[in-house]
Structure formats: C-alpha cells, structure tokens
Symmetry: C2
Subunit: 196 residues, 2 copies
DNA sequence: GGTTTATTTCTCATATTTGAGACATTATTT
DNA sequence: AAATAATGTCTCAAATATGAGAAATAAACC
C-alpha cells in the first residue's frame, strides 16, 4: 500500500543501490537494530527490492560503513590539504565534517563507541588512525604556536570538535537553524571554545 | 548460562525494577530497537525477570521516559534556582545536564528528534516547554546585558549548549578524559563559544 | 510498438523476538 | 528452620522480522 507506486524520476541499478545505502545510513544512525522495513520506507522502495540488492542485513551494514569511510575520508583529507596554515586546515576540516552530514556522525560512532574494538589488523581502523594522527598533529602545531588556550587538552579539543560537528549536523537535519549560518556559528564557537 | 547466577548483593523490588530501567536507558539510548535480551544482560538479570516487572516493551519504554523526565527536570530546575545571576545559572545548568549523564542525551532526543511530534496536550511536552522557556529567558537576559556575542543567535546557543553536554557525557561514558576535568572544560568552551 | 530491465505485489518458509506458565533454586524474614 | 518473596531455568505459543520465489506491472531502450 504505497502512496507513490512509481516515482517520476527513475534511476538505474547503481542509483537504487546507493539510494538504499543512503537511507540505511540515516536509519541505522539513529536506530542500529531498526527493521529493514524502515530502511526500505525511507528509500521509497519495497523491502523486496532491498533484499534483491543486498544478500542480508549484514551485507547492507558493511556497505554502509564502507560508503561512510570513503565519503568522510575523502572530504576530510581534501580539507587537510586545502591549506598550509594549521588554523585554516582545522577550519576547513570542520566544514568538511559538517558537509558529510549524518555520515560523519556514524563515522565517529563507528570508531569511538564503547563497543568498538580497535584493531590494527582492521584496515578501517588503520585508516581512521591515519586521519586521527593528522588531526592531532594540527592541534599540536597550534598548541606550540600558542594559538590554543593552555586550559584545554588535546583530548578535549577533539571532543569539542566532534561535539560541535555532530550537533550542527543534527540541527540541520531537524531544521533548527538556517543551514547557511550553521557553519559560521560552528567555527565561531569552536575556535573561541579552544581559545583560538 | 550466566557466569554469576546470584549476585552477592541482593535487592528489593524497587531496586530491581529501577536497575532494569537504568539498564534500558543505557541500551535504548544507543539502540532504540534493541532486543530486550540486551537490556536484561546489561541489568544482570534474566529476560524472564524483566518480563515480570514490565507488561511489555512499551511499558518499559514509558517508564524509562518517565524516569528520565523526573530526573532531568529535578536536576535542571535545582540548578536554575541555585543563583540569581544568569551566567551562574547557566553554568550550573550545564553541570546539572552533565550530571544527568545518558539520561540527558535521551531527554534531549525525546524532544528534539525529527520523529517527535510536539503536542501541547502531552504533559511531557508542556514540562519540557517550561524548562525551555526558562532557559531561553536566561539567554535573553545575557544577550541584553551584552554578556553574549552578537554573532550568535539564541537557537545556536541552545545547539552549542546541548552539543557540549552530550559530547561531554559520551566522553565520560567512553572514558576519554578525566571525569573531574570534563566539567571545567565544558564550561570553559561553552562560555567562550558564546562569547561570554 | 515490442523487447528488456527493474520494481512491485503476493506468498511462503524460516529465524528471531516477545511474553508467560510451571516449577526449581536462592534470599529474606521471622 | 520454616515460611515467604524474588529470581532463575525450562518450555512453549504468538508476534514480528527476514529472506526469497513467481508472476504482474511499469519504465527504459531500441
């Protein structure tokens, strides 16, 4: 009983598969054990179609995580290389995180929740560590140049950074504030918040 | 197949019920559709015991939400009344939020996620609005006294405030930073972040 | 317009989750 | 130490979620 049996815009195989992945990321980010029915609804397809594209729930989750990794990594690395000034790098990375949207929230959870087991054998973990190392490096540079308050530690800077990105993403998902202004607010508060 | 069939410390009815509620809040906060088995595990009871205390899943969720409302409301209102200085009020409210722990995260989601329908007929919503009105009032006072930067809006202050509280709570759940220092960091960054 | 491809609909088998009865086991109380 | 209360174990029925076959339907492509 679907209200719109066939959408005006039709898409090819890749598009449908990707559409389902995008929907799954949105749903699983808020409710990891959600029934697949909810994912199908969000993607505007039937559950039957979903099952044709993915062997089982696990495969769908794996592909979501892969998509997230690729997406976030790409955006963040591009931002890192966008400048040689550490503070500008940090600013652009913040914007890149916000641009990743819910994928960034998911990405962060994937590697920072208590149930996550960090393994050097896991390639995803290695990739994350790489980004983390670059990020830490930028913060340390700023600390040495006295651009960051002595009152805050490296760990707290990371927490604040991720809190603001994720909070901003939630705000724009829930339409709490003008989208365009959000990035400015986020950077203003983050930079002030670390005493920059 | 439980490793510790009977715990050394034994508790009465209220304690067991409350223990299950506390466990359920932790589990559902991260995974709302989680099987009840997970909740029972976290509470160190069998699923059978859980079902003796709660008619069904829905009742458990209701009682979790009720507990969260009571808890958060109490802490936040006490903090509000702890001073007549708006900035001190705000500071104490931030600490109160952090002290609520995961309950605060849940509380915030309950009333701010996109799937939440706000109704004036719902008593919980009215209660939340009450707190929200007080909070807004405090911010407005600070804005009038030029204690808050003109660059940020009331809505953004709320987003930042909740982002930092929730981020701080996650950090302490995942043992990322010394618990004692977290509150200081949180207030430092929030107050700077709004230009106070 | 006819062919091909993708999606829906309907259906069904299987797996998992849920909720509860009956009784054994452990704690608490007196 | 006997009675009482709470929890665990084992079991089972009902509900829900998962995954897939078969045929109908819609869209896309010559």
């Amino acid at each position: 009983m679907r209200n719109k049996p066939y959408l005006a815009t039709v898409m090819n195989v890749q598009d449908t598969q990707q559409k389902i992945i995008e929907a799954a990321i949105l749903v699983f980010n808020e409710d990891p054990s959600s029934p697949l029915e909810k994912v199908a609804e969000k993607a505007l397809v039937t559950r039957r179609t979903l099952h044709r594209y993915f062997k089982d729930r696990n495969e769908l989750v794996q592909l979501c995580e892969q998509d997230i990794r690729r997406n976030c990594r790409k955006g963040i690395l591009a931002a890192m290389n966008s400048s040689s000034d550490a503070l500008k790098q940090l600013e652009h990375m913040l914007y890149a995180g916000i641009d990743c949207g819910v994928k960034y929230s998911f990405f962060y959870k994937m590697h920072n929740m208590h149930d996550h087991q960090h393994h050097k054998a896991n390639e995803a973990c290695v990739e994350y560590d790489e980004i983390d190392a670059c990020y830490k490096n930028i913060i340390k540079q700023l600390q040495q140049k006295r651009k960051i308050s002595k009152h805050v530690t490296l760990e707290w800077v990371k927490i604040l950074y991720n809190s603001i990105i994720i909070g901003t993403i939630n705000a724009q998902v829930n339409h709490l504030v003008e989208r365009k202004e959000l990035k400015n607010f986020a950077w203003f508060s983050f930079s002030k918040g670390i005493g920059a």
